[in-house]
Structures are given as C-alpha cells and as structure tokens.
C-alpha cells in the first residue's frame, strides 16, 4: 500500500544518512529531532496525498478475491480505506503536536518568532510538499473551522476570562468592538471602492457592496491570532483584556455585517429600512447569543449540582453544554462566540463550587489541550490553504488593503480613545493606544468567512481571498514578530506576577464595600451600587439553586480562603513526601524559605539523651495509635477517589488548624521557634487529632516547673485564644487552661507528668529525630 511504501522509503533513506553524518548526528541532537520532524511532515503529506492510489488498489484487491475462489488465505491484508479519515485526522493532529514540541526544543527560535508565524510557515511547507506530490491539499473549510477548530479556543478563553478586569473595562471594550469594527468596515469598504474606481481596469467591476462586504470581513480583529501573540508577550492585564475582549465581542458585529452585505450583495439595493433592520439584527444577534449562552450556562450549573456521586463525568457536562450553546446559537445565525463566552462566564462560579478538585483540573487541562491543538491546526491549515487556494493577485488592491487596514485601525483607536478617555478614570496613554492599535491582528476567521462567499455573486472572490491572506500574513508575521521588541522598546508595563493572596482578597472586598457605602452616602447609583445589588441577588437566590449543599451559603472570602488552603495542602502533600522540611507554600513562601534556611544554623537547647529517648518513645506510641485511623488518610492513598470529599474536608480543617497553630506561634513566640514547629506540625497535621501547644521555650516560662501541657484536642477547629498573646506573652497558662477546659482533650493526663519536655523535642532540629518520626509516620 502506498502509505506503507511511502513511510518505508524515508526510513530507507535515513540509514545511509545516519552513517554519513554520524558525527554530526551525535554532537547535534537538535538536528536529529528537526530531521525527524521533517520526515514526519513528509509522511503526513504523503499520507493525505496517497489516498487516490488507495482506492484503485483496494478495488482491485476486492475484485481479485471475488474472482479467484481458490486463492490462498490472506494472512496479511491491508485496508486503508477503512481507517482513512480518522487516520488522517490523527496524523494532522500529531503533526501539529510535533511542531509544538519542535519549536520549544529550539530555544532561540521561540524567543524571536512567535509560534503562529512558525506554524504558518510549517503549513506552507506541508502544503508545498502535498502540491509537489501532485495532490490537492486540504483547505480550511468553513465547517471544519467554525464547528471543530474554533469552539475549543473560544471556550478556553471564555471560561478563564478574568472577570474583574473585564467587567471594569466592559464599556471601553464594547466601544472598541462595536464602534471600532463598524468604523473599520465602512472606512475600508468605502475607500477601497474609491481605489477600485480610481484604478479602473479589472477592478471597476467591484461594486460598493462587495467592497463593503470585504471591509466587514477584513476589519474584525481575530481572537485566535491575538491570543497566540499576546500570550507570549506578557503584557499588562489592562491592555490584554482590552484587545482580547474586543476580539471576542466584535464577532456579533462581524456576523451581522457579513450577513447584511451578503444579502444586499444578492439584491443589489439598500434602503433605509434595511439599515434600520440591520441595527435591530445586530441587537438581536448580540443579545440573543448572550441569552442562549446564559441559559445553557445556568443549565450546566444546575446539572453540576447533582454530580456529587458521578464525579468522573463532570467535565463532560461542562464541555457538552458549552458546545451545544455554540451550536444552538449558530442555528439561528446568532453570535456563537458570544454564546460560548456567556456560557463559560455564567457557569463558572457555580460549577467550580460544585465539582471536585480533580474535575476542575481535568477541565482546565482539557480546555488548554484542545485549544492549543486547535490553534496549532488553524495556523498550519492557513499555511496549507495558502498554497492550495486559487489566487488572483492584484497589486493595487492588495497594497491598498494592507495600508487601509493599518490606517483605519490607527485612526479608529485614536478617535475612540479620545472619546473614551473622557469617561474613564484611568486614561489610556499614547503607549496604550499604540499597543491596542498595533495588536489588532487579523486571522483565520476572516479567511473562512471569505472562503464561503459564493463565487456567483462575488466574482472577485479569489482576489478577495488573496488580499485577505496577504493581510493575515502581514499582521501575523510583521506585527506579530515586531510587537515584542516594540513592547520592550516602549517600556510598556508587563504583567505583574503577583500571587493572589489573602490580603489582596480582603482588601479588594473591603474596598468594594467601602465604595458601595460611599456611593450610598452620595446618593449616587454607580458601578458599585449595581454590582453590589447583583452580588446580593446572586447570593440570595441564584446560589441557592445552583450550588449544592452548604457551599451555597459560603461567603466569597471564605471560599477563597478554602481554595488557598487546599492549594497549600496539596502542595504540602506533594512536597512533604519528598522533602524533609516541607516548604510553606504561596503566601508564606518567603517565610518558609527563611525558615528552612535558619533551621540549619540554629542554637539548640541541650537536653539529655534519656529525656530524648522518652520523648521519642511517647511520640512513636501515639503516632502508631493513630495510624490505623490514618491509614485511609495516608499520603499515598489520600488521592484515592472514594475518600476525596471527606479528605478535602478533613484536610481543609486540619490545614486551617495548622495555620492557626503556626500563626499563634509566629505571633507569640520568637521567630526561631516556628522553624521547627511547622515541621512538627506538618507531621502531626495529618492526624485526626491535633497536637497543640503554645509553648514559648525562649521565655522564662519554659524552665518553670509547670510542664508544657500537651493537649490533644479532638475538636478540629481549636479555639486559638493564644492569638491574643500577641501583646502579652506572659499569660500562656491561662489560655491553656481555658482551652483545655473547653476543648475535648484526650489523654491529657498522660502528658501532665513533669519530665516531659515536648517543646524541647520540637525545637530539636536534629535530623535523626525528624527522620525517625518521618519514617515511622510515613511508612
């Protein structure tokens, strides 16, 4: 079979190549990979080109068996037709993935050239190879693009849309998306018409409507291209959300204009009523799309409420509902992109409250994976289609298109910003305006829209296609490659890598309420007032319906705190089994490092060996006692599914207590103490029982005859009255006794004996002690 032969041939060629360049082969491993990639590309090309030959041989093979009944039983038969379609699809996806791998193996390249450019180049190469084989390369068809390749990217963008910057800038984004796109479309269309008339010749037959349609197609900023380029330059959040939000929201405008001009192109005449209808249509398309998305989003959230027993299929609901929202919107020619975004945005807070942590991770990774593959495939196919498509090059038209794109974009942004800045608190500076204008990349959506134009009504279709491809290439290559050095040159603010900390959350919420209150005092119903109303409505009614269990009444600060704890708990669990001294992650990471560092070189109080042995015995005994219960909570089976919900809860509670403990020590006790206590804490922390002690070995109290009381409190949330010790460290005993009376203690009497110096062992950093406890505990 041709495929087999084709794939054999390159391998056969490989052998002498290896022998010849054995030296280079070994010393430059990158060469090897690039070579293999190229070979693979060739294999893909030959596979998709080799189909035509298959059908013949398949047919003859079939006929052959029919005629000769006394043929020997075929031990090995090849039937390529059967698997052709999925096989080719898989090969393409594999090619895309290999390309992605390859680019990151060559470090300098990915720093200079954005991935999208490289992928288009690869597409060109592959398309060229296919052409060389004499076959017709596949084209980025409308159905393939809009139904399969685009939705994952948009869903990924919509689901992870940062709501705060988006909602704060939604006015600006809408103005850019709607007014900006309209301006671009009409300006380009009208000017191109003028150019066509002026140049004359071939272009004279291009009517005004055709030009306007072309303008509408080309003027829309493309979300795929913007994502691909902006993701790599790490620009600050405001600019990112402005350009990206605009690229998402202008879909409604593009859809309406496209259908409008296409209709008119058929009819040929435009009346005022049509214009009016067009405006109505725009509102219907936009609002309708959002409604459809919101409805599906609510449905998804509602469904996720009941999935607590079937965690495995939770991600499936998210994907299916979103996709159906997209398809339903497309049925009515509503804006599918806006439907998808609305669905993702609406369902996210509720779904995340309902689903398990692993489902969340699954959703995140699947979305990233699909969108990544989609994006790669889109760019590759763009390259292939360039080679494939019939081209009609027309110098004036193409040059005019490129110039007009740039000029109209710049004028539009400047003009709109001038108006918008009057309404914005944080004005857009010139630098910002430049980046917004320069970041208006065109992409595959424009190409696909042009591709489905009917050649009958638009005889200039090929010319349009060529011009669009040229514009796309120009924006992606020239603008995409130069935007990074320009960002550096202009010293545009980059994205700040701040971790979302608990302090920030507290302050943001506090300010929200403060500003709402001030608005109330002024008697002014502004942004905050409505946001506050929406939040209250959300809390009172919507959350009750859409979130399962007691989480529906959980305030946002607490759920944020839980998430933070969970993250830290997971990180501790992951790192705890490998590191002796687990780092205290995220918010206290700096502190953790300083703790780890200082653990090494600390002055140790000396205790006798005998005492140490006693301590170890007691500890071991207690740890072993709790181990049966802990068996299911062992670090290694912690990840087991059936316990996950219980585990999360328990883990959270323990984590909370652990943090409280750490806090109390940090605030009451000299800093050096907490070096050991978190270590110890982490060991014990997995217990159901919590060891608590708030001893201050550095203080004179330590040498009192009053023993440090080792309390084993059963209550998972211990009352930490010790935090009041921040001002007064001389009353540890009072709070202790208070606590011991209030909490449920287990075997406190055991430890009230005089010779126990538990804190001593806690402060003892000697590795063997830790190791022992470690090994007994973790075995």
């Amino acid at each position: 079979m041709p495929v087999v032969l084709c794939s054999c041939a390159p391998e056969a060629a490989e052998m002498p190549a290896r022998c010849r360049w054995a030296g280079a082969w070994r010393t430059f491993p990158r060469v090897r990979w690039v070579f293999l990639l190229a070979l693979f590309a060739g294999a893909v090309a030959s596979a998709s080109a080799g189909q035509v030959n298959d059908t013949d041989s398949g047919a003859t093979g079939g006929e052959g068996t029919g005629h000769h009944s006394r043929r020997a039983f075929p031990v090995l038969a090849v039937n390529y037709e059967y698997i052709r379609m999925p096989f080719e699809i898989s090969l393409w996806i594999l090619l895309a993935s290999f390309m992605k791998l390859g680019f990151h193996l060559i470090p300098r390249l990915s720093g200079v050239v954005p991935e999208s450019c490289l992928l288009i180049a690869v597409g060109l190469v592959v398309g060229g190879l296919i052409r060389l084989m004499g076959e017709t390369p596949p084209v980025l068809s409308y159905n393939l693009f809009f139904l399969c390749l685009l939705p994952p990217i948009i869903l990924d963008a919509g689901y992870f849309l940062p709501m705060r910057p988006f909602s704060e800038n939604v006015g600006t984004i809408l103005v850019f998306a709607v007014v900006g796109t309209l301006w671009n479309a009409f300006f380009m269309g009208a000017t191109l018409f003028g150019v066509c008339q002026a140049v004359g010749g071939q272009l004279e037959s291009v009517g005004l409507l055709a030009c306007l349609l072309f303008g509408a197609i080309v003027s829309a900023v493309d979300p795929v291209a913007v994502l691909a380029v902006f993701e790599e330059i790490h620009i600050n959040e405001l600019l990112h959300i402005l350009v990206f939000g605009e690229s998402l929201l202008n879909d409604a405008v593009t859809v309406v204009l496209y259908h409008l001009f296409e209709e008119f192109g058929n009819v040929g005449i435009v009346t005022l009523a049509d214009v009016f209808l067009g405006i109505i249509c725009f509102l219907v398309v936009a609002m309708g799309g959002i409604m459809v998305g919101a409805v599906y989003g609510v449905l998804a959230a509602f469904t996720s409420r009941f999935t607590s027993h079937t965690r495995v299929i939770e991600p499936l609901f998210v994907f299916l509902y979103s996709y159906m929202a997209y398809l339903s919107a497309e049925v009515f020619h509503l804006s599918g992109i806006m439907a998808l975004i609305a669905c993702g945005v609406v369902m996210r807070p509720y779904v995340e409250a309902n689903i398990s942590h692993k489902s969340y991770t699954t959703i995140k990774y699947f979305l990233k994976m699909w969108s990544s593959v989609s994006e790669t495939l889109i760019f590759i196919f763009l390259g292939v289609s360039t080679v494939a498509g019939p081209h009609a090059w027309n110098w004036p038209f193409v040059i005019a298109t490129i110039f007009l794109c740039l000029i109209s974009r710049v004028l539009g942004v400047i003009g709109l910003t001038f108006v918008i800045n009057k309404f914005r608190i944080v004005k857009l500076s010139n630098k910002d305006q430049f980046i917004v204008a320069y970041g208006g990349l065109r992409g595959a959506i424009a190409f696909s829209l042009a591709f489905v134009l009917s050649a009958k009504h638009f005889p200039m279709k090929n010319m349009f296609l060529t011009a669009i491809i040229t514009v796309i290439f120009f924006t992606v290559f020239v603008q995409g490659m130069t935007i990074r050095p320009l960002v550096e040159l202009l010293a545009v603010k980059k994205k700040k890598e701040t971790k979302h900390s608990i302090n920030e959350e507290i302050h943001t919420q506090f300010l929200d309420h403060l500003l709402t209150g001030i608005e109330g005092v002024c008697g002014h119903y502004g942004h905050h007032h409505w946001k506050d109303k929406l939040n209250r409505f959300n809390k009172m009614y919507v959350k009750r319906w859409l979130i399962a269990g007691e989480r529906s009444t959980e305030p946002q600060l607490i759920s944020f705190y839980h998430k933070l704890e969970l993250k830290q708990a997971l990180m501790l669990a992951e790192s705890g089994s490998t590191a002796k001294l687990p780092s205290i992650p995220s918010s206290a990471s700096m502190q953790g490092e300083s703790m780890r560092r200082s653990t090494r070189g600390r002055a140790l109080p000396q205790i006798s060996k005998v005492k140490e042995e006693e301590i170890r015995k007691i500890l071991r005994a207690n740890l072993q006692k709790t181990r049966q219960r802990l068996h299911s909570y062992n670090r290694h089976t912690l990840i087991a599914d059936p316990f996950e919900d219980n585990w999360t809860e328990v883990r959270l509670r323990k984590k909370r207590v652990e943090m409280e403990r750490r806090m109390s020590h940090y605030l009451t006790v000299p800093a050096k103490q907490q070096d050991c206590s978190p270590v110890r804490r982490v060991r014990f922390e997995s217990d159901n029982q919590v060891y608590s002690s708030n001893l201050n070995p550095g203080s004179p109290m330590f040498h009192n005859d009053d023993p440090p009381v080792m309390e084993v409190a059963r209550a998972p949330i211990a009352r930490m009255d010790s935090v009041s010790l921040v001002d007064d460290s001389s009353r540890p005993q009072d709070s202790e006794t208070a606590r011991s009376s209030s909490g449920q203690t287990l075997a406190v009497s055991e430890f009230k004996d005089g010779d126990l110096r538990i804190p001593c062992c806690r402060s003892d950093p000697r590795p063997n002690l830790n190791e022992e406890a470690d090994s007994t505990f973790l075995s």
Partner: protein, 232 residues
C-alpha cells in the same frame, strides 16, 4: 449658575474648592446631598448616616460611618472622634475619593495616593496607635463576614492569621530570634498594598459623575461610571 447662588456662598464654595480639589459644581451637588441627609441642619450626626437606606445592608457600615467622624481624616492634625460634622468636614472626607486631576504633577499624585491609603489605614486602625494589630485586623475580617453567621466566626480567625502572617513575611522578611510582630504599621501597609492593582484602582472613585452634571439645579443623574483598573 450665578442665579442659584448668592455671592458669599459662592465665595465659600470657591474656598472649599481650592482646599479640597473639587469643582464648584461638585461642591454644590454635595452640599445639596449634605442638606438632604442632615434634614437641612448645619451639622450631620451618626444617626443621619444610619438612616441612609443604602447603607443598611453594607457589612462595614459602622466603619464607614466612623470614618466620617474620625478627626484624623479632617486634615487638622487632631485625634479622636467628633459627635457631629459640618459640611467642610464632610467634604474633606469625600475628597479622599476623587480621582487625580490631569494637571497634577507626579508629586501631587503621589501625595494624593498616600493620603488615600492613610485614610484606609485609619479605617482599620481604630485605636489610633499607628499600627493595625491582629485584633483590629480580625475585626475587619469579621465585619466582612458578618453576614455569614457561625461559619464566619470560626474561619475569621484563621483568615486573619494567614493574612497577618503574609503581611509580616512580606514586609519584615526574615525576623530575628527575638522579634515579635506587633502589627502593621503604615509603612508596611503601603508596601503590602502597593502591588495590588485592584486596590489602587478602586481608590479613585467615580465622582466623575458629578463632572458631567452640567445643570446644577438638576439632581445628580444616574450615571454608571467607569472605574478602570489603574497601575501607577
């Protein structure tokens, strides 16, 4: 506009405008609101604030009201709390929320920002000792969660502890063996608050609404303003 004001009042407004940075129109509107809240009296009391219906469901209502009566916010270098405030004090407190005007120098903008953060700090530091202790911070968190009943009570402590831990670690770094972290001073507060873009943006409130009310005799229009997220 002259027809609606007698000259002495206008002079007062101009003085106030210079002092607080509002425009005369804005002061006029705010004065109207002041009179509305105080039922046409000269001074505003706490009860008048409590009577505002919009504030009723605000979890930090008491702190907001206290901020208006906190003499530290009157820019008169005095301490303590007042029982009632006049229009000038009201305006002074409101001036913390206006956005920086375009013709301010960088220094002035910095001063304004500092003043705003000081206002925020004063809201937290209720006992006026210059630091936000754990107790005070916990009070803040508890107020925020005050509508959540029992759940809020227990986790407020945990949240506060985690937050203080974080502030301590970012502002003080590695502490010596005998250090106890007493509380967040204003300098630490600045350092901690500095990288939060959302916090900075919000300090510049939407009083631009008043900018666009061209007709002073008309009551302030409903206007959804923009609060852009600001990186300075």
């Amino acid at each position: 506009m002259g027809a609606f004001h007698s000259n002495p009042a206008e002079q007062t407004y101009r003085d106030l405008a210079e002092k607080t940075g509002f425009s005369v129109e804005q002061i006029w509107i705010l004065h109207n609101r002041f009179k509305q809240l105080s039922h046409d009296e000269e001074m505003l009391r706490r009860d008048d604030f409590k009577a505002i219906p919009d504030l009723a469901c605000n979890p930090i209502r008491s702190q907001i009201i206290e901020a208006f009566f906190d003499q530290r916010n009157f820019q008169t270098n005095s301490d303590g709390t007042a029982h009632e405030i006049g229009f000038e004090e009201f305006l002074t407190v409101m001036s913390y929320f206006r956005p920086p005007s375009l013709n301010m120098t960088q220094e002035e903008k910095e001063d304004l920002r500092r003043a705003k953060l000081r206002f925020l700090f004063n809201m937290h530091d209720t006992d006026n000792d210059g630091t936000i202790t754990l107790e005070e911070y916990r009070h803040v968190v508890e107020e925020l969660l005050s509508r959540s009943g029992a759940i809020g009570q227990e986790t407020a402590k945990g949240i506060t502890d985690a937050a203080m831990l974080e502030v301590a670690s970012t502002s003080v770094g590695h502490m010596g063996p005998d250090d106890v972290y007493e509380g967040i001073t204003f300098e630490h507060f600045l350092k901690v608050c500095h990288p939060f873009p959302a916090v900075k943006g919000k300090l510049q409130l939407i009083l631009t609404a008043f900018v666009h009310t061209l007709f002073p005799h008309y009551r302030p229009r409903l206007y959804i303003g923009y609060t852009g997220v600001h990186w300075a």
